[in-house]
Amino acid sequence: MTDLTSFALRKGEYLMADQQELLYRQVTIHTWDEVNRRPSSKAFEPVDADNGMASYSRESKTTAKLARQHHTTNAKSPSLGVWAVTVQEVETEGLRAVDDSQSTPPPGLAQWPPGHCFVDYRHLQSKGEIRTVRAMLLAKALARQEVPSI
């Protein structure tokens, strides 16, 4: 594991303080188990295109319903449901919950989705570490059950 602090926060990014705040995660078809009606642990990790920063939405700045609608309207794959973990659960796994809504969006994105934040996986190098972290977040999300979003 690389030192987390080696990835300095950029201008417009800050750590989320409220440990109990929920982070909403949109679950799409490739990470959804239709038979058992639950997400994969993969739903909680970044995809390659995320460059180690998995996108979530802040409970304090948007609702699960609005976040889901925005995702379905703008993303390639529609959201099939919203699941959540807390800032504390993220930090317990050695990750950071970062609000980047005031930072400059990446090329091709006019503005961040409402309440955008990310869970920072960039310091995790081994597949084993990532596998454990994402599974822990899945277990926490399953305990919380799906967040109503319709």
């Binding site: 490739h30 390659d48 596998r131 599974a135 277990a139 399953l142």
Partner: protein
């Protein structure tokens, strides 16, 4: 610091270039990459000359800029392959591909010569430098008619096959311009070397091949025609030009399975609505044994995923990984009571996962059929892990975890 961390190639392993592209008689001439060895600062610059009337006065039509993007992607893919070759026991470092980026820092005259500079300074720069040389040598071999000197996986890269497709007759792209070792690539050479690759003039066909999944139901070997019935029962007519494929198609048709499913990597023609109209040519045919089992539908869903299924990235799922997953599920005698989630992995593998609040158990199979076993007790954050190539060991691990 480990090799992976340092990113340094194993110098004792010989030329990484020849290992990847197999460059032989047609390679190794001139200056290697287009570099100015007199100045270390310019070692990271590459000149690619665009020759033709459209490029006079240092003009670069926007239509032609995809060639520079293809070149960048080629260097990245070759570098990644070189890294994997030299580090066979390791996974490609996360963000390896992000470590390389070219920028146009100047355009020199004659006709137009964009000067490309590598932006990054990463631990993997040595790989990217070698890769750039390998790409040059691969084109050199192709131009010389020595395709056999270039590794097959290189010539199958869409960016390699399509390189130069925006050029018009009489135009050329030159590597190492204005040196004795200049490499001049023209549309005419490309057409001869890659006759099956679609060109811009084939307006009805996709530029890149697609993965189609269905049942091969008829073959006319004399006329190199076949019929593919998709999973909704719709028949699509296809043709192919590679005679070797006749045996592959026959093998699928003669499979022991009642209704064999195959994945066909093909260039397709679409109708006015963008729907598949016919199969213009085939690159490969692969059998996917398909018995009617509880997980068959899900595995076929994964088999139909196109490259880029995950936000633009994500490899097509390897049939070998799907076969391995099916065998594991059979041996575990999975039933509806312990049915797992089955998910695609971006590397072309498959994740099988049994998840609950009390435990998360999984096996991830990569395209090389390596099994990553995992068991987690979230309450105490205790994990068991196993990496193996042995399916029996994988099944034993899962049996113990699921008990």
């Amino acid at each position: 610091m480990s090799d992976e961390e340092s990113g340094l190639p194993d110098e004792s392993a010989g030329s990484a270039d020849s290992a990847v592209v197999g460059a032989g008689a047609g390679a190794g001439t001139g200056t290697g990459t287009d570099t100015d060895t007199a100045n270390q600062q310019t070692r990271r610059r590459t000149r690619i000359r665009l020759d033709g009337d459209r490029f006079t006065g240092k003009r670069i039509p926007v239509d032609v800029t995809p060639e520079l993007q293809r070149y960048e992607r080629l260097v990245i893919e070759v570098a990644a392959q070189q890294w994997k070759t030299q580090n066979p026991e390791k996974n490609l470092p996360r963000f390896f591909r992000d470590q390389f980026q070219l920028s146009i820092v100047d355009v020199e005259d004659g006709s137009a010569t964009p000067v490309l500079e590598r932006v990054s300074n990463s631990a993997y720069d040595t790989y990217f430098d070698h890769a750039a040389e390998s790409v040059d040598k691969a084109f050199e071999a192709i131009i010389a008619g020595e395709e056999e000197e270039v590794s097959a996986w290189v010539t199958k890269l869409p960016d390699f096959r399509d390189f130069g497709s925006t050029l018009e007759a009489g135009e050329a792209i030159e590597f190492r311009p204005k040196t004795p070792a200049v490499i001049r690539y023209t549309p005419e050479i490309r057409t001869v070397r890659f006759p099956k690759a679609p060109t811009r003039k084939r307006a009805v066909a996709d530029e890149d091949p697609r993965a189609l999944v269905g049942r091969l139901t008829a073959l006319d070997a004399n006329h190199w025609k076949f019929t593919l019935t998709d999973l909704n029962g719709r028949e699509v007519q296809g043709t192919y030009t590679n005679p070797d494929l006749t045996d592959d198609i026959k093998a699928v048709l003669n499979a022991s399975t009642v209704a064999p499913v195959a994945r066909v990597i093909a260039y397709i023609a679409a109708d006015a609505n963008g729907q598949l109209a016919r199969i213009v040519d085939v690159e490969s045919v692969e059998l996917f044994e398909s018995e009617r089992e509880p997980w068959t539908r899900r595995l076929i869903e994964l088999a139909t995923l196109q490259a880029g299924w995950s936000e633009g990235t994500g490899e097509a799922i390897a049939f070998a990984a799907l076969d391995a997953v099916r065998e594991i599920l059979r041996q575990l005698e999975v039933t509806v009571d312990n049915y797992p989630g089955i998910f695609p992995s971006e590397n072309g593998g498959v994740l099988v996962e049994w998840a609950s609040i009390q435990r998360v158990i999984s096996v991830e199979v990569n395209p090389e059929i390596e099994y990553s076993l995992f068991r987690l007790n979230p309450e105490v954050r205790a994990t068991d892990e196993l990496e193996t190539r042995n399916i029996r060991a994988a099944v034993d691990f899962l049996r113990g975890a699921l008990a």
